[in-house]
């Protein structure tokens, strides 16, 4: 983007003034506010023309109607914690922040579901549900700040996906404003429902390109009574992966099974040191939940499996504070990577669990061949590895080698029968590799669907599809 584009308004003044009539002081066009909504956790920057803070579905609807009339992009944004640039206004336009649509509308303790607005922070829902003895399982590492709307749009998964599944598995129904400005209600508030096409699932994971979620009905479970967390240290990635397979073979279903390589551990060590057994080359974080007896017994079996696979040490906690302490290592990794190098190419591939060891071996070899630093951690239980290629961002040759490495990782992943994104979505980061996975027909069908929901390409243009036509014609 040219330097000037950074400052210039792309939207016509008439559109802005119409928005002003609608939103009053909740329309912000100062450069300062626009800068604050120009980034997400990818670190990339695109300046919007304006930011709005709607408080209900009707305001969202009016916005989209205006956008169709004046042809400006509308980019929904929750907490801006996305890792694929989904909330970045790459073609300018309006960032629609859901920060002020943050009410938990209802928690139905009889039918076990919650109705929430999209700006509710995931952890807030988890905490409120727990007060009723209920459980909302999805737990992305960003749960303390990411929003339900963002989680739904990205179909976020987390540590507990190995046992409980991902966001998709908890969305019963949605209310969303389509690209036409129509308000669509999908799904059910019952445990079952099979009437017609599954529009709910269409919108889940659609990255804000099909509709703007204004309300969601989410399934809740009874809250497990107890949980036990284990942190096992191994000398290398191979042993840790071996332990993962041993756990699966023992037919235990942990509620978390997270792997970290040595570099990942070291990143966190710099900030919050913890004592490591001599020779630590990797770590595995495991959790089991259920009744106290059950959790304790399963934890014993996990510990056994780890030791049998050569664990150097296994730490264990069943109280909240102790568990939190063990979790800290895992939760701090992603942001702490900043200390390794200023720029990270952050990929979240998934391979069949049985191919994990092969993938790790491939990554080690790749790192050597391309001479770039690669840090790996992730949800071993799902075969989901966060592959972080760390570069300075200032060395053109290094950047080229890193880009090549990314492409190789994706090719290898698809070849192994995996997927190029387990949770972060396509956004702008993976758009170039999108077709590699879904194929030309997949792309074509998806584009036709996009046309049904958003004929004028108002919603979040420039995402997922590489050659998305710019909104302005």
């Amino acid at each position: 983007m040219g330097a000037d584009a950074w400052y210039t308004f792309l939207m016509n003044p008439e559109a802005l003034s119409a928005l002003g009539n609608l939103f009053g002081e909740r329309l912000r066009t100062t450069l300062e506010t626009r800068i604050c909504y120009s980034f997400d956790a990818t670190g990339k920057k695109f300046l919007p023309d304006a930011v709005i803070y709607p408080i209900n579905a009707e305001e969202v609807r009016q916005t989209v109607l205006l956008a169709n009339r004046h042809r400006f992009p509308v980019v929904p944004r929750g907490a801006g914690s996305g890792f694929s640039g989904g909330s970045l206004p790459v073609h300018g336009g309006v960032v629609l922040s859901t920060e002020r649509m943050d009410r938990i509308v209802a928690i139905d303790t009889e039918n076990l579901y919650a109705v929430v607005e999209p700006g509710v922070v995931t952890e807030t829902l988890k905490v409120e549900a727990k007060k009723h003895g209920l459980f909302y399982p999805p737990d992305p590492a960003s749960l303390k700040f990411s929003t339900i709307g963002g989680n739904i749009a990205e179909c976020s998964g987390g540590m507990s996906a190995v046992k409980y599944g991902v966001t998709r598995d908890y969305v019963l129904g949605l209310e969303a404003v389509l690209g036409t400005g129509e308000l669509l209600r999908t799904g059910v508030a019952t445990a079952k429902g099979v009437v017609g096409y599954d529009l709910t699932r269409m919108i889940v994971g659609s990255e804000g390109t099909l509709g703007i979620v204004t309300r969601a009905t989410l399934r809740l479970l009874p809250h497990p009574e107890a949980a036990v967390t284990l942190l096992a240290f191994f000398s290398g990635n191979g042993d840790a992966v071996g332990a993962v397979n041993a756990v699966v073979a023992a037919r235990v279903t942990p509620s978390a099974m997270e792997i970290m390589d040595r570099t990942a551990i070291d990143c966190v060590q710099a900030n919050a040191p913890m004592s490591l057994p001599e020779g630590t080359g990797s770590a595995l974080l495991l959790e089991v939940d259920g009744t106290p007896d059950f959790a304790a017994r399963e934890a014993d079996r996990l510990e056994e499996a780890c030791r049998a696979c050569g664990a150097l040490a296994v730490r264990r906690a069943s109280d909240a504070v102790g568990r939190d302490d063990l979790w800290k290592l895992r939760r701090s990794i992603s942001p702490a990577l900043r200390r390794v190098a200023p720029v990270k190419l952050n990929e979240d591939i998934v391979v069949p669990r049985s191919r994990l060891a092969d993938m790790f071996a491939f990554l080690r070899d790749l790192s050597g061949r391309k001479n770039v630093r690669i840090v790996n951690f992730g949800h071993a239980g799902d075969g989901n590895i966060h592959v972080n290629i760390m570069i300075s961002g200032t060395d053109a040759d290094e950047t080229r080698r890193a880009d090549e490495a990314v492409e190789e990782v994706f090719r290898k992943t698809v070849e192994m029968g995996g997927t190029i994104s387990g949770e972060h979505g396509v956004g702008i980061s993976k758009a170039p590799f999108f077709e590699m996975e879904v194929g030309p027909l997949g792309v074509a069908v998806m584009k036709r669907l996009k046309g049904c929901f958003d004929p004028n390409g108002i919603l979040n243009p420039g995402k997922i599809f590489l050659e998305e036509a710019a909104v302005r014609g």
Partner: protein, 435 residues
């Protein structure tokens, strides 16, 4: 292209460069629930500083305004997985912008002329005390009279403490507490506004049996000037203080105010250039500077508290964590230990103990309604949890929370822990230590 960098500090680049824009800081920011906009959060402010450094944002006033909208409570910094020094970034950013466009006139006079000179502070207080009699609407609280601030002056519903005719230092005899191995740094608020706190701190420290001097020629610690971006005035204050403190050669320096302590334990070092005599003086002071509670614990004073401690109701007394004292300097357990020993089971952990009180120094002046909403929430969370007496150890927190209880529930009390220790040591039944 309007590429004029309005923020230039070279250190800033290194500091902001660590921010991964992850958003963790959104979860803890004191201001965020009030503003619900990214510009209020550390991540947004850092983005603005970056834009200002690169010349992308050239509107100095607007950036200054955004950076001023922060309580400097440091909660973001403590939650940040990358240990980004947010307070430092905000303060440095403010300083650079102050250099570029200045600071508001009222702040300039206050920091440049009044606070650097002890006598001027005193004159200001006397003038204020005299003027205060003209304020309407006295309202009673448990801790004495408060005045209701006239509405329409930007401080709607604000109450201000009744200023005493005499400050604490003034009430001491001329040669009293002039020299000693322990030096007490009272701080202007506990000298001029709440002299009873100054006195309680002095007498309880003296009960250690050590010889105690009171630091009389104190200039303001410099924190208000520093946070406003007036680094020159702040450095002047700091220099004058560390020079005089060192000259007095104390073995330790006790601070009843967490904010003053933060200044001498941490902030002065970014004001005074390394290698200068002032810097050495600052190191001398920092090595000896200690918070009130830690001093008491190490001094044996608490052993002299008669058993059983005087009877408030079980669980009635709570402790509020001053952001800087507990958060930044990590001094939280000490005050709790002091309280347990001084008041026994009357002390219980307070609901929302670590929530910021919303004072934020000049933030309270700049946006009183917001400051008050945060503060009212703070004290009402505590009250709902059963706390009736909120104790703490920072002058700003005492000021703020006294205002808040006056506004919401005047039956609550806000005290400095020194007042409770004093009560325990010198209680009237003859069993305690008596003067």
């Amino acid at each position: 292209m309007r590429a004029k960098a309005i923020v230039k500090d070279a250190d800033l680049k290194a500091l902001t460069g660590l921010c991964a824009k992850c958003g963790t800081c959104r979860t803890v920011c004191t201001l965020y629930p009030e503003r619900k906009a990214e510009i209020a959060v550390a991540r947004g402010k850092i983005a603005l500083v970056e834009a200002a450094m690169s010349g992308e944002d050239g509107d100095a006033e607007a950036v200054q305004e955004a950076l001023t909208d922060c309580l400097l409570c440091g909660r973001c910094e403590r939650a940040c997985p990358n240990q980004v020094l947010v307070e430092e970034i905000v303060m440095k950013g403010r300083a650079d912008l102050a250099e570029e466009i200045g600071i508001p006139a009222w702040k300039r006079v206050l920091f440049g002329k009044v606070m650097t000179s002890p006598s001027a502070t005193e004159i200001a207080r006397k003038a204020a005390a005299a003027g205060q009699r003209l304020l309407p609407g006295k309202i009673p609280t448990a801790s004495g009279l408060h005045y209701r601030f006239p509405d329409g002056l930007g401080g709607e519903g604000r109450t201000v403490p009744k200023l005493p005719a005499k400050g604490f230092l003034e009430s001491l005899g001329k040669g009293e507490a002039a020299a000693g191995e322990v030096m007490l740094f009272v701080g202007c608020v506990f000298d001029h506004v709440f002299p009873q706190v100054g006195r309680a701190a002095y007498e309880t420290v003296k009960a250690s049996g050590k010889s105690v001097a009171v630091f009389r020629d104190a200039a303001c610690c410099g924190l208000p000037a520093m946070v406003s971006g007036d680094r020159r005035s702040a450095a002047e204050c700091a220099e004058a203080n560390v020079r005089r403190l060192r000259a007095a050669e104390p073995g330790s320096i006790v601070f009843p105010c967490g904010s003053c302590l933060l200044m001498f334990r941490r902030n002065v070092f970014s004001l005074l250039p390394k290698g200068t005599p002032s810097y050495d003086d600052a190191v001398f002071v920092a090595d000896r500077a200690t918070d009130y509670a830690s001093f008491l614990l190490s001094s044996g004073v608490l052993d002299r508290i008669p058993d059983p401690p005087p009877g408030e109701k079980v669980g009635e007394i709570g402790y509020h964590d001053p952001c800087h004292l507990t958060g930044t300097l990590g001094k939280g357990p000490e005050a709790r230990e002091v309280l347990s020993r001084a008041v026994g089971p009357a002390f219980a952990e307070m609901a929302g103990a670590d929530l910021c009180c919303g004072y934020g120094g000049t933030f309270n002046v700049r946006d009183y309604p917001t400051s008050a909403r945060i503060g009212e929430n703070k004290v009402s969370v505590a009250a709902r949890g059963g706390t009736r007496v909120i104790s703490t150890a920072c002058s700003g927190c005492v000021l703020q929370m006294r205002d808040m209880v006056a506004r919401t529930d005047p039956s609550l009390r806000v005290v400095h822990i020194a007042e409770l220790v004093h009560q325990a040591l010198f209680r009237g039944d003859g069993s305690g230590l008596r003067r």
